[in-house]
């Protein structure tokens, strides 16, 4: 029997018992649908993160903080006070309100700077401006995204922040435009905005900054980005009138290393810092841990889909066993006419694979349809604050892989019935009532 005839016969056979085939196809459909949706969410979220945080310019940056004090663990209670070491960071230097963390002092900054492989280290200053205003259109709260200079923004218009520039630059999120009185993203570029900030003595001062770019809202921290020059300027206002040394502690510092460093060299720098008591993270580490969480969630969803598919596999075994039994005579007849066992086996496994293909192709197709619709609805609704986020995205390759895997599962499920069909003795099979 030619292969093409086997395939045709197998397809015709699977349609002979429509209800039975239909039910099995539904079981596979559910599994393939779920798997396609979860993989679509994986693709969508990952590609969103990628566009959001392509950390191109920041691959050579380490964020450094004091490593958590090992003596102050939950079981042993707080460590003894050591005046030479501990300075808790005051508000305004990067700590979360209500928390105390070990701060980096000027001494630490020097020590970090001396570490081999570190080219430069800057304490991260956190400025807390009061408001932002454009052209007398009213004052609005300004939230600063401290990570803005570390990442490459997903721009709606304009340019990225330039930390080596000597002008004061601000990168606004799209959500600020309307309130400030800009018609659209393009209209804001190059305009001068006023930023109000209170100094140490409680007097409010104002600084000017140029809008360098407008950024689509990101999931990695909301708020406006400020370049180094502007940050320094605002920090200078912020500490005006402060007693010497009051602002000399920082939650984190950013250190620059050679951009051409290998992964091993970066690890060496991090290990070196760790032995000195500093915790350090590259941008990749930060994003990596974020992606790990997402991957775990998607992995769990996928596991459910695979369980559904395994259940569907038993459906295939059952369907085919019944089909073999129903067609025992036919198998006997074909063998009596010289069909060899291998071909009979192929015939029944092809039927299994076809049922698998039918279920998975329909499931994937439905998933793409439903996923695209839901994704569009969500993009306009719940996720409208995150422009560019398509929660469900489909990669043709992953859909092909899903269909392929389901067909493989179907083939494996068909092995048992197909073997029992192939082993029939023609006369016994023909005598079967």
């Amino acid at each position: 029997m030619k292969f093409i005839d086997i395939v045709k016969t197998a397809i015709a056979n699977s349609f002979r018992s429509k209800v039975r085939t239909g039910l099995t196809v539904i079981a596979i459909f559910i599994g393939a649908f779920t798997l396609t949706i979860t993989s679509g969410i994986g693709t969508g979220v990952t590609s969103y993160i990628d566009t959001q945080v392509t950390a191109i310019g920041a691959a050579d940056v380490l964020t450094i903080s004091k490593a958590a004090d090992s003596t102050s663990s939950a079981t042993e209670g707080p460590a003894a006070y050591d005046p030479s070491k501990a300075t808790t960071v005051s508000l305004g230097n990067g700590s979360r309100p209500g928390t105390t963390i070990q701060a980096l002092t000027a001494k630490d900054i020097t020590a970090i700077g001396k570490t081999t492989g570190i080219l430069r280290v800057d304490p991260s200053v956190r400025v807390t401006p009061d408001y932002i205003e454009y052209d007398g259109n009213g004052k609005f709260e300004l939230i600063v995204n401290a990570a803005a200079t570390l990442t490459t923004a997903d721009l709606a218009a304009g340019a990225q922040l330039d930390n080596s520039s000597t002008t004061d630059e601000v990168l606004l999120p799209t959500t600020y435009l309307k309130n400030l009185g800009f018609a659209d993203a393009k209209a804001a570029i190059g305009k001068t905005v006023s930023i109000g900030i209170t100094d140490y003595t409680g007097v409010q001062q104002e600084a000017k900054a140029t809008v360098i770019g407008v950024q689509n809202e990101t999931i990695l921290g909301v708020g406006a980005g400020l370049n180094q020059h502007l940050t320094d300027g605002l920090q200078a206002i912020q500490v005006t009138g402060a007693p010497a040394g009051a602002s000399d502690s920082y939650a984190t510092a950013t250190a620059l290393f050679d951009a051409s460093s290998t992964a091993a060299e970066i690890t060496a720098i991090k290990d070196d810092l760790a032995t000195q008591g500093y915790a350090s993270q590259t941008v990749a580490d930060t994003i990596g841990s974020f992606q790990t969480v997402i991957n775990v969630i998607i992995g769990v969803l996928n596991a459910f889909a695979v369980i559904a598919l395994i259940a569907a596999g038993f459906g295939i075994i059952n369907t085919l066993l019944m089909s073999v039994q129903e067609r025992t005579r036919e198998i006997g007849l074909m063998k009596a006419m010289g069909m060899n066992g291998g071909r009979v086996y192929t015939l029944f496994s092809t039927e299994a694979v076809f049922i698998g293909f039918l279920g998975s192709a329909l499931g994937a197709l439905a998933a793409v349809g439903v996923g695209s619709v839901v994704s569009n609805i969500l993009a306009d609704g719940v996720f409208s604050a995150l422009p560019g986020l398509q929660v469900v995205q489909f990669a043709p390759s992953s859909i092909a892989i899903i269909i392929g895997v389901v067909m493989l599962i179907a083939f494996l499920a068909g092995t048992l019935p197909a073997r029992s069909a192939a082993r029939q003795n023609p006369i016994d099979a023909l005598r079967y009532e």
Binding site: R16, G332, A336, G338, N340, L430
Partner: protein
């Protein structure tokens, strides 16, 4: 003397095991020459179909040897057995074994499909076989909608579609009325005479048996040689009497 197409030497077959063991065939020997027509006659349950299945290589004998054109069937490879079943033998089963919902043509060309003949040629040869049996007009009908006689002719068409050397027919007229039975008989003997196809027919019908060159009588799994010498007419009567 030429080598017989089929030669059975003391072949036996038993079914079941232990207390349920039943010796359906207890040692039958026979030679079948090419172009011969042979009738296997005997009471119901005497082992005729069993013998026929063994001769057609559809089942393996438990004892004795079967030679196919001089070669021991046991020594034939699976592939060779399949080739014989597909190309050299045509089988008309006691039941029809037609696929009910497939068309008559599809049923008839099944051996060609198995042989890997391309669709166009398959159709041409299938139609030729159906024409030979005056069934061409029913080619597209579902097999289930044929009358008994038409079904019988369809399975004969299926048996001869691949131009076999031997046709095995198990009770080819058993399900038919006398008139239709006679038509089917004529077709089979025409094939034997005109195409030189060896004919092996299992039958209850004395008239049909009498038309064959030779008769083999089976009783309780053994050849009954006491009957075979009897002149055709008389034997036929005796056999009918035994049945009554």
């Amino acid at each position: 003397m030429s080598v017989p197409v089929l030669s059975a030497q003391n072949i036996g077959k038993s079914y079941g095991s232990g207390a349920n063991r039943f010796d359906a065939l207890k040692g039958v020997s026979l030679d079948i020459a090419a172009g011969e027509s042979i009738a296997i006659v005997g009471k119901s349950g005497s082992g005729k179909s069993t013998l026929m299945h063994l001769l057609a290589l559809l089942d393996d004998p438990d004892s004795g040897t079967l030679l196919v054109e001089g070669t021991d069937a046991k020594k034939l490879k699976g592939k060779e057995v399949n080739r014989l079943r597909n190309q050299d033998f045509g089988f008309v089963f006691q039941q029809f074994f037609l696929t009910a919902n497939a068309s008559v043509l599809d049923n008839v060309v099944l051996p060609l499909k198995i042989a890997g003949v391309p669709p166009r040629e398959r159709k041409a040869r299938g139609m030729a076989a159906l024409e030979q049996l005056e069934l061409a007009d029913k080619a597209k009908n579902k097999a289930i909608n044929l009358s008994g006689g038409q079904k019988q002719r369809a399975v004969i068409a299926r048996a001869l579609v691949n131009n076999p050397k031997v046709i095995f027919a198990d009770e080819p007229t058993g399900n038919l009325d006398t008139a239709t039975g006679a038509v089917v008989e004529d077709i089979l003997f025409a094939l034997n005479k005109n195409n030189g196809i060896t004919l092996i027919i299992v039958t209850h019908d004395i008239e049909l048996a009498a038309r064959c060159d030779r008769q083999i009588f089976i009783r309780d799994g053994l050849e009954d040689t006491t009957e075979s010498g009897i002149p055709r007419k008389r034997h036929a009567g005796a056999h009918a009497g035994a049945h009554a």
